[in-house]
Symmetry: C2
């Protein structure tokens, strides 16, 4: 997991870390932030695992990927671990977002001030609908799609947010990629094909709802089976 | 994977299936739906894997959990597989939703007609804000929170959707659980503690954005390292 760099410092090789581990980091960050706000100074992996309904071993393994912040017999320093995970997540940097699609979902995201607190600034909002262009959402003007490229370059935008239907999303993603966007936060119900250097994070709401539907039906099914077995002679 | 039931039919034991597999089912469903709409009648696991940028072996493994729909040398019957996965996902059933929180995100979800096409009917919308109560969102009246319990029972609602801040979400979830809701689709940035019979699916938007941030920074880091190495003597 570690290597020594030329100055002899312990250096983390990030490339080996699976997306499953990365997916759990924001949750650690959230819990540690809450503990810090509650004035908790240190916590053991055991206590943290009980709070997070996880296992102490998974927590230790996950955090070891990044250098292992805990000390035997002391546990984790909450403030320090919170800050470090924030840095690992890149939250010590400012990200500049452009949002494409000023419909209901776009408006919901633009109005969500917590993103801003974490350093994700929505710089511009774009829509192809002339009825929406010129409106203000939380002080941010909705612009026509024609201005997208020049705006991205001028404002050094690094994240494009797609809150448009899937029929329009592929073309919009291509335009984002062509002007050098680093990442796309994709709410359109389509898988985007982009070069490897462009990071994509999908939020497919329908998929999430279908998974819920499966789990409802499956629980009912299992429960029915168990009841059947229980009344079997 | 299979067992024979009393009438001798092959029966799938669903309980062994991991959430990772379940998470991939909606994506199969989406691709098969598009193939069907394009008039494609059959497809091999190889062709499907190329389309989905997956591997043929994963596709075969995943679908085998549910009975294995493919035939050697023929591939999958698109229409049949689409219908079967729909059934597995419980999409042949109607779900009745109540949405708590008529803010921007709640409005965005209520306006999303595709959920309805899949059998997820938003029956009622609730909000504690008197300024929103009485308004209509796509023909659905926003009701005061006092009416929540009686409405759920009367309309046999099985899914509660939480689009409220995390400070209010825990109490709202408790109320949903007490009136026998089967599942919660949770957009609040908090982990809900509910009995095992209540299914929870979280959509933590901040977590998703943080993961994106990590991947941007990590890619830059790896790319920098590679550049460093390339210019090394």
């Amino acid at each position: 997991m570690f290597s020594l760099n030329v100055s002899g410092e312990k250096e983390v090789e990030r490339k080996e870390i699976s997306q499953a581990v990365i997916s759990r980091l924001p949750r650690y960050y959230r819990y540690l932030g809450e503990l810090r706000d509650d004035g908790v100074e240190r916590i053991s992996s055991q206590e943290l695992s009980e709070l997070m309904q996880s296992t102490a071993s998974q927590i230790r393994q996950d955090l070891n990927h990044f250098g292992g912040f805990g000390q035997q017999g002391y546990g984790y320093n909450v403030e320090q671990l919170y800050t470090e995970i924030g840095k690992i997540l890149g939250l010590d940097q400012i990200h500049h977002l452009v949002l494409i699609g000023a419909g209901n979902l776009g408006q919901a995201l633009a109005n969500y001030v917590n993103f801003e607190r974490r350093g994700f600034l929505i710089e511009g909002i774009f829509d192809q609908n002339p009825a929406l262009v010129g409106r203000q959402i939380r002080g941010i003007k909705v612009r026509p799609m024609e201005e997208l490229e020049s705006f991205i370059i001028e404002h050094h935008a690094d994240i494009g947010v797609l809150t448009i239907p899937k029929t329009a999303a592929v073309a919009a993603a291509d335009r984002l990629v062509r002007c050098g966007i680093k990442a796309i936060w994709n709410f359109a119900h389509v898988d985007l094909k982009v070069p490897p250097k462009v990071q994509v994070e999908n939020v497919h709401l329908s998929d999430s709802l279908m998974k819920l539907s499966y789990n409802i039906c499956n629980y009912a099914e299992l429960h029915r089976e168990q009841t059947d077995r229980a009344i079997d002679p």
